[in-house]
Amino acid sequence: MIPRPKPERFRLRRTMMFMNAQKPGLIKDAYIYGCDSIMLDLEDAVAENQKDAARFSLYHALKTIDYGDTEVIVRINGLDTPHWQEDIRVCVAGGADGIRIAKCESANDVHTVEAAVEKAEEEFGVEKGRTLLMAALESPKGILNAYEICAASDRLFGVAISGGDFRKCMQTVFQPDGVDMLAARGQMLVAARAAGVQCFDTVFTDLDNEEGFRAEVLQNKAMGFDGKSLINPKQIRLVHQVFAPTEKEVIQAEKIVRAYREQSAAGVGVFTVDGKMIDIAFIPGAERTLKLARACGMYEGDLV
């Protein structure tokens, strides 16, 4: 059995790659491609009559495979199915880092899952609060309730929009410029930032359309997303490239953090770096840039 460290609520999650939990050949080493999180799927990827088999596979994969630093999240079946409770039991017993709530529409949905998770943590002797949550918003109602969902639980690290179902509800289809989901993405981002959680964009399914994928990822980054769900390892590289900070940003961030540490030790709250006024409000952003830079192999210092 591979002991996994306690999951970190706020960590780097640029790329979350979906994997069918029922396919042994896929899940055995999905981490080698270097995505930040893998998303083992018990929901849509698994046929209705194989939900039980997928849970046995998932349990032993979680217990046996060394996923290293890669975060392991499980997408469970919707609350309107007969499967979700057993899904939660197996996730908690297996030690998954987090659970993705499919088709989440309200804070109440989050609370329902949270209660089941807590019960499972008790049942399996898992540290209370260890299992993180994220919510997938797949309907207009989910988007309208985004803020209450984002703020519903201390376990919740973020929200993701799920484009397929959402577009159907909105009676639209994929548009290259993203206008089909512009309002929803925007509302979800605002809610997530207001609640202080992370925010992830939906999958891009046309694997052959490299230009379209790049355009969407650039837009994601410009809008302020933390990361994106993926369906194929070959999508990872581009997202990491686009989300990487520039060299200039890294140097600036390093200066800010270093100066802040020195100045605050000396009791100074406001100071200048390269002629620019800096205070404590700049620090989280600068530290985030350095963490990102480290993940991208651009920063080897010891400030973060």
Partner: protein, 100 residues
């Protein structure tokens, strides 16, 4: 557990195994085919028998067609087949207990 009716789990895809359990005649009768028989046949047999023992299955006819599955997959397929044969595979699985 008592094997009540025939049940199957798994596929014949590469890296998977298909496990069938049927009511037995008082002991475990194992039939095993594997694409990695010469190197792993002994270990596959042990894994299957250990898993059945943990589930307290004492009487069953078990057929394993292995396509290079890892141990964790073999266990999952045997367990699923056994729970299915008892009609108990959908909920309240003893994760970390008999299933581990």
């Amino acid at each position: 557990m008592e094997i009540l009716k025939p049940a199957m789990a798994g596929t014949l895809e590469s890296s998977d195994a298909q496990v069938t359990v049927e009511p037995g005649n008082g002991k475990i009768q194992l039939s095993l085919q594997s694409s990695v028989m010469n190197q792993y046949g002994r270990q596959i047999r042990e894994t299957v028998l250990e898993t059945l023992e943990r589930l307290e299955v004492q009487s069953a006819k078990v057929t394993v067609v292995d396509k290079g599955a890892l141990d964790c997959t073999l266990k999952a397929r045997v367990e699923c087949a056994v729970f299915r044969s008892c009609g108990q595979s959908a909920a309240n699985i003893p994760w970390g207990g008999a299933v581990r």
